[in-house]
């Protein structure tokens, strides 16, 4: 009887039922679409951030350079025999530009924190080479700040490339984690003290390097064992070598300048961040959400659109749908006063009548929910097919350590940008996917049931207040 009565009643007021279900469907469809868009934007942001900062990295730890610590490179042109005008020279040094350093023991400290699943240190360096003839009339001194002025151009050639020392044991985190080894292999733990290098594919192409080639880092010859291709146009280093070798060549034993940390779970990131700050008070701790806030460009705009306008639009439509459903249910109950009065006169309990009303409202809600899920899938597909490629730019403040200090290097027409590793701004183009997640569908089901229950409750409340005598008196 319950089902028969319910179906017949809904059939009787089919237009109204369709109207209410359509309202709920619209709201639920919008919610799903907004969630899908938001998830897509979030995934895109994640992809951008991972490509820029490494897959699996939840927190990065750096340290701002101490004032005056970032001294310009000394090439040893002191007033000795090598400094005579007209004499040829060649120098190759490895420097850590614009970044403060942390001790390797900090990595151990962080690894030991409760909510940390892994930590890995790296040392970002720049290999600088200068060669040429010391110009006449110039008396450069290695003890002075700055470099060669424009007047020295033409007699000196320079080159530079970025080198990152990575911990082979922790390569699941850190600079190479988002890259793909396209040729050869990555640096293994067995090679942690060998002169082996993995070279970025772009740099390899420009320098005509391949697996088995050799490169010179700080005057030491390294064998290329792998070519790495970064996931996207990102903040890559040109050359990766074992951390121990980098520390040794840069004369920075037991020093790193970035620690990549993975939290035990995403819920622990804030805790991990606080724990690290407590353990290393001078360090700059940056979480993935901090990094996300640095992302700008149309991806960021899409994120704002999805998270603010989309969210509130969905909430407003849902609220309106709930309101209309409730009003129409109350109105339907009001029109059925005589019917419910008769049922009460026949001995139907109020709760049986409420169950009937709730059942009708729930069915409308569920139909609306199903239609809403379909609409949501449609909306998500539409966004996916129509959305233009989004661009994302990240600011120049990688890991909070700004390039700067006195290390400007303006060797004539040459160009060694010391701040590249830390200071470059990167733009990445990503396609927006709008995945409909099970969670979103689950939310839709909950909203549909909620919509039905809210509308049904109002209707039921109206019916319970109905005194049978009063209801029947209206008939007279």
């Amino acid at each position: 009887m319950f089902v028969t009565y319910l179906v017949r009643e809904l059939r009787r007021r089919m237009r109204q039922a369709i109207f209410v279900a359509a309202g709920l469907a619209l709201g639920i469809g919008l919610v799903i679409t907004v969630i899908a868009a938001s998830t897509g934007v979030s995934n895109s942001q994640g992809a951008v951030l991972h490509s820029l900062y490494g897959v699996g990295t939840d927190v990065t730890v750096t340290q701002a350079p101490a004032a005056g610590s970032d001294r310009p490179p000394s090439f040893g042109f002191g007033g000795g025999a090598t400094g005579q005008a007209g004499s040829a020279f060649s120098r190759n040094v490895l420097r850590a530009p614009g970044l403060g350093t942390l001790t390797s023991s900090s990595v151990t400290t962080i690894s030991g924190l409760t909510d940390v699943s892994a930590a890995s240190g790296s040392l970002s360096l720049t290999d600088l080479s200068l060669s040429g003839t010391i110009p006449s009339g110039s008396q450069p001194s290695g003890s002075q700040q700055g470099g060669f002025g424009g007047g020295a151009s033409g007699s000196i050639s320079s080159s530079s490339f970025t080198v990152t020392g990575i911990d082979p044991a922790g390569d699941a985190l850190g600079p190479l984690s988002s890259a793909t080894i396209t040729s050869g292999h990555g640096i293994t733990t067995a090679e942690s003290t060998d002169n082996v290098a993995v070279v970025d594919s772009n740099y390899a192409a420009s320098q005509n390097l391949k697996v088995g080639s050799t490169i010179t880092v700080a005057g030491t010859t390294f064998t290329v064992v792998g070519i790495a291709q970064a996931a996207q146009s990102t903040n890559t280093s040109d050359v990766y070598i074992p951390l121990a070798r980098a520390q040794s060549l840069a004369a920075m034993p037991n020093e790193v300048n970035t620690i990549y940390v993975s939290a035990a779970s995403s819920a622990d990131i804030t805790t991990v961040s606080k724990e690290i700050s407590a353990s290393l008070p001078k360090a700059t701790v940056t979480t993935s959400s901090d990094l996300a806030s640095q992302v700008t460009g149309s991806l960021s705009s899409a994120s704002s659109l999805a998270n603010s306008l989309g969210k509130w639009l969905a909430v407003a439509v849902m609220a309106a749908a709930f309101f209309i459903a409730s009003i129409l249910t109350i109105s339907a109950v009001s029109r059925r006063v005589r019917e419910f009065g008769t049922l009460k006169a026949m001995g139907w309990r109020s709760r049986r009548i409420i169950r009937q009303i709730m059942g009708e409202a729930l069915v409308i809600g569920i139909v609306g929910g199903i239609a809403g899920v379909a609409l949501g899938y449609g909306g998500a597909a539409l966004i996916q097919s129509l959305a233009p490629p989004l661009t994302a730019s990240t600011g120049a403040t990688t890991n909070g350590a700004a390039a700067g200090g006195p290390g400007h290097f303006g060797a004539g027409g040459g160009g060694g940008g010391l701040g590249r590793a830390a200071g470059a701004s990167h733009t990445v183009s990503v396609h927006l996917n709008a995945p409909v997640t099970l969670g979103a569908v689950g939310l839709a089901v909950v909203l549909a049931i909620l919509g039905g229950l809210i509308a049904g409750s109002f209707g039921g409340w109206r019916a319970v207040r109905l005194r049978p005598a009063a209801a029947l008196a209206r008939v007279e």
Binding site: M1, T4, K344, G347
Partner: protein
């Protein structure tokens, strides 16, 4: 069956209080047929609602089969209505979306009768009022007389002790009215029902054993020289 003592019913109406019933004393025995007449607004329907446990008296006591209805909780009153009281209304009050059969079955829903038995009893009830062949019809597909027959079947399917009818022929033409009254009379006789009918129609009232006339909330009873064929 019923014993009403000094029953009053007051309604607030704006700032005024309407005294719908003013000290009704009434005894209705099992198997009695009472007709209640009187002008509109003088308390006929109010009295019927109190007899039907649809409303409570303001003062006085209403005993139904030895139970003081005034002392019962709402769900107990609902149970009394479900098991012992059948109603017939002027406008039939059938559920428009349910067929004749389902309307009759609806009266058995509160009694939690099993599906098969419910269907059988409803079909039998419809057959008793001569509508076996209309069981699947919706109320809108039935004439006024047929709808009232369905309503009678619905009221009687649970085998109530008392049948309360509020203007049962008020919406029917003369021929159908007589048909319905003949049906009610035969059911009353066959089943030993207690029957209370509120009516404006003197020819309907004349069929009852006694008639009560309501005026200004007061009831005056008189015995009828019963005209069973009228």
């Amino acid at each position: 069956m019923y014993k009403l003592t000094a029953v009053t019913k007051d309604y607030p109406k704006g700032r005024r209080t309407v005294h719908a019933l003013r000290g009704i004393d009434l005894a209705i025995e099992d198997g009695d047929w009472l007709a209640i007449q009187g002008p509109t607004g003088h308390g006929k329907s109010t009295l019927l609602q109190i007899l039907g446990a649809l409303d409570r008296s303001t003062t006085g006591t209403v005993e139904f089969r030895g139970q003081d209805l005034g002392s019962l909780r709402e769900n107990q009153l609902t149970h009394v209505r479900a098991t012992s009281i059948g109603f017939i209304f002027q406008t039939f009050n059938l559920i428009p979306t349910l067929s004749a059969q389902e309307n009759v079955e609806a009266a058995l829903v509160p009694l939690d009768v099993a599906d098969a038995e419910r269907r059988d009893r409803a079909a039998q009830g419809l057959a008793e009022v001569g509508l076996a062949d209309r069981a699947r019809h919706l109320p809108s597909e039935l004439s006024g007389g047929q709808q009232q027959r369905v309503a009678i079947a619905r009221a009687l399917v649970k085998k109530p002790a008392v049948l309360l009818a509020d203007e049962p022929t008020g919406n029917l033409d003369e021929g159908t009215r007589d048909e319905i009254m003949t049906l009610l009379a035969s059911l009353w006789e066959e089943r030993g029902l207690t029957l209370v009918i509120v009516t404006h129609d003197t020819s309907v009232a004349r069929r009852a054993q006694q008639t009560g006339v309501m005026k200004d909330g007061r009831l005056r009873l008189r015995l009828n020289a019963r005209d069973a064929t009228a």
